[in-house]
Amino acid sequence: MLEFSKMDTISVKNLVKTYQVFKKEPGILGTFKSLVSRKYEKVKAVDDISFSIKEGELVGFIGPNGAGKTTTLKCLSGLLYPTSGEISVLNFKPWQRKRQFLTNISFVMGQKNQLWWDLPAIETFLLNKEIFEINDSQFKKTLGELVDLLDAKDILNIQVKRLSLGQRMKCELIAALIHLPKVLFLDEPTIGLDVVMQEKLREFVKSYNKNFHSTIILTSHYMEDVQNLAKRVIVINFGKIVFDGLLTELVKKKAPYKLISFMERNKDNFVKIKKLGKIIEQDFPKLTIRVSSKDSNRIASQILDNFTVEDLTIEEADIAEIIREVFEKSKK
């Protein structure tokens, strides 16, 4: 079912990553004990996962905290050495950290800056220019394009510590993309940002993906990121992949239902209508029922024909709710 071809930009086979965590007892006695003999336990952060991603895809990695998303991303970028399994990114083994590989990737960690705090952002860009060996004209061109896309013309020469959080975020992105990486790893990029900035960031990532055709993996535990950005999602929990496919498929598969909401002022009808589906919310005359997706249209027309309802709406199940259920199920 999973086919790995040279066309895949990223391919992961049976990746496992375990950590050793030391256990220390509290107190002074525990202190001396731990100097002599240490108890450690192995934690499997990533437990045999496999997937592949093609060039230009924008994939969302979702999972609760500690699910293994960040660890996977760090293995893909070469930061961590996998315990077992195979990884191939741009036909390189990431942990070998070959020059060619590193020149074509970028890793952005939410809330962790790569900008020099006391200096204007442009200094960091210039430093990256040297590190990535970008020539002058290419540098000017890319910088110009990114500055336009992000509307960051006036903030390049101000000390980073004086910039607002939103401005800093823009400069971080420029610093991360100045070398036009083919693969972009975004680890919790929206964390700590307010709602407006989250929106802006998502917009940018979408347009960057479209304009520059880079492959992007984004991890998040915010549902809005996933809903608005990624068509394809990989759901991870407890180090295992729980779902890998289109978001719409996930919805269909896990929650093949729709919610119908309306107002029915006639008390008798109200009681009758309640029987048509599972009651989610009722507060006379308002009612929300849940029906299976395939029946939703039929039932909706039935309601409209036989009853005098007002403000009828049909909604998708809440994606956040669905995903939460998926996490709950995978606990067992």
Binding site: Y19, T70, K74, S77, G78, L79, L80, Y81, W95, R97, R99, Q100, F101, L102, T103, I105, S106, F107, M109, G110, K112, N113, Q114, W116, D118, L119, E123, L126, L127, N128, E130, I131, F132, E133, D187, E188
Partner: protein, 262 residues
Amino acid sequence: MELKKYFKIWYFLTTIATQIALTSRLGAILFLIGKLLRFALFLVFIMVIYSQTQGIQGYSFWQVLFFFATFNLIDTASQFLLREVYRFRYYVLNGTFDYFLTKPMSPLFRSLFGGSDILDIPMLAISIIFVYYSTFKLTTVAPIDLIIYGLLVINALIIALAIHIVVISIGVLTTEVDNTIMLYRDLTQMGRIPVDVYREPISWIITFVIPIGVMMTFPAKALMGLLSTQFVLISIFLSLTIFFLCLRFWKYAIKNYSSVSS
């Protein structure tokens, strides 16, 4: 091509580090004063000893000063070049080290040399002048001995480099850096005076096991014509061996790196 790129980056990073250091000028000046004081007071100490006793183990006043001058030169030079190591713990803890690893530039290079700051240069200049001056005060020095001196000073810097590589490797594995580096500094302090002054077995341990003697005492002894060729060769062999072992250790540490959790 490579070398040029790295030199350019080193220069860039040094100007950045200097700009940042200059933002707290008072602190910088005070530290400079403190270092000068430390240097001067030790000189006074040696002068007091030599004015009241027969001195240290048969060495003349200017010989002992030359040992101190050599120590100072090697110490300040290695601190100037490797200043970034003192910030390493901070980088590992706040995730900046992850950025070192994901860029196409040697993370080892970045962690060692990325932060030389100009404010170390006055001290370095003073140590060079001091070495120069005290050389003249010694009885005639053979030119060959001068060359060997230079060679062994570079040798000492290689050992210092190797030790700093171990320090940051330990930092990668355990995030503990400050104590290790201060331990190194305390040990090298013992090299302010010729290490053969210490009683055995300390003297032997300090010379070869923790190669302070090879670093600080041997170059000076060579200049004074007191070091046999065999020891010159041993010194070079030792430093190259240690250096390669330390590089292996660094590679091991990186493989076992588990970066700070998100």
